[in-house]
Amino acid sequence: MAFLSVDFLLLLPFALVLFHAVGGPRGGLRAPLLLAFSVAFHATWSVHYTALLLGTSVATFGIGKRIGSEPQDAGKWRWLMVGLALLLGQLALFKYAPALSTPLASLVAPLGISYTTFKLVSYLVDVYWEKTEPETDVVAFTAYSLFFPQILSGPIQRARDFLPQLKQPASPDVRAERIVSGLRWILFGVFQKFVVADRLAMLVDRVFAAPQEYSNLGILLAVYAFAIQLYSDFSGLTNVAIGLGLLFGISSHANFDAPFSSPNIQEFWRRWHMTLSSWLTDYVFTPLRMSLRNYGDWGLVLAVVANMLAIGIWHGASWTFVAFGLINAMYVSVSALTLKARNRWFKTRPLLARARKLIDPVVTFHMVVAAFAVFRAGSLTDAGYILTHVLPLDFLRAIDSAGFSAAATEALRGMGLGFDKIYLAIPAFLLCETVVHLHRSGALARIAGRTPVAIRWAGYHGLILATLLFGVLEVREFIYAKF
């Protein structure tokens, strides 16, 4: 069952009414009910895999208790290693075995295995680091690890953030507020997905399938379009997930924080897929960097390379993902090692420093766009072709003779895509970015607070109508649901 399918939307209200009706001290029957919903959601994809994820969660619960009860650090460490070997071994088997071994080629990764694994690994390490107490309620714990809104693409919520919210539900007022806020997040996410992402997908899919068949300008448009498509699709999906969580009274961290206006690449990674970035920082980068701390800058570079390669190959066994990881490792290492010197240099040049504030986000955005082109390309050969054909001469000639928008329209028409089909995504994307920035600065809440209810509701209806009118409503899988 998919999030935006008719079945799901019909069942959701019943689940919600039931969930909010069974309150009581310590959450009453909420945890078992939530677990039942999640099991049912997983089971619509595969009963066997649901049993596997349930088994893994219960085993992790048991190992967490053992880590907590071992008197010596050596014993705790041993159990942590047992748990990590189980979780990461299972993830690696499903993600890489089909690509690397012919007899296992038909193996399909269970839905949500990545995000369940991330949650369970963070739980075991946190118990070992004594950041969290071992959980004593197996039902609540399993409801956490299988929580259905978060299984497709996060946010990766930590157990210590999730479990108290499940066990001590907020007051009815706060819960009512969360439901309203959840509906807003869902509406916004759906708009991002259908109006921006899926519209751009028409252009992106065509060009990336056979870049050699398109003009340089067509490739250039597709490369930009993919960055915006990926962002809108992925943040749309996690916004729907955050909204669904809120409907069930669970508040979680945001997953994106206007990443395309980041002034440098390190900050981009802190504002893109934030819950995975912070997971990697806590459990991969910092431990590695700590063990390599006496190797100076080389230790830093090595830790960055390992971290970025992990991000790359987590997406799958493909050389384009390896290249994506290495490109970002190079970006981050160079940027991190030169940042202090750059800051000092600009400190004494106030005029240039002001220009830098405008130029840095543009440069960072283009670095990201180039890396994403490699990520999306069908092969390294295609990636090479795309990156060497985005800017050369026919593009400049076309602009020179016809003006950019006429040339771009011509390029789109060559693909059988009209101006109206693709360009609608641009105002829609700008609208989304405006909302994101207003939300970020706190102005959105202030404006909403001053706006009469009737106008606010007109706005929501406008957004729903716009999604129905301008959205590409063939159900297209979210890009990140497959990772």
Binding site: Q266, D282, F285, M290, K340
Partner: protein
């Protein structure tokens, strides 16, 4: 060394690492209070603190810290009695 003296010495290390001579830290200060205090700067800070105080920390000790106050307590706890 008293915790207040540890905090004083720690402040000097922070100022050096973050290149800010006016930086003030208190027990409740966290990474989100200082702009440049990201995961990259964090380990540089740990290395600088290890050097300044002649100590060595484990990943577990560093990962369980939540604010400057806990860092001060950790340093205080790990100092040999003759210097504490």
């Amino acid at each position: 060394m008293m915790p207040t003296a540890v905090l004083e010495k720690l402040t000097a290390v922070f100022r050096d690492v973050f290149d800010d001579d006016a930086l003030l830290i208190v027990a409740a200060t966290t990474a989100s209070d200082i702009d440049d205090w990201d995961s990259l700067a964090h380990v540089n800070l740990v290395v600088a603190v290890e050097k300044a105080f002649g100590l060595s920390f484990t990943t577990k000790e560093i990962s369980s810290l939540n604010n400057v106050g806990e860092f001060v307590n950790l340093i205080h706890r790990k100092m040999p009695p003759s210097r504490a």
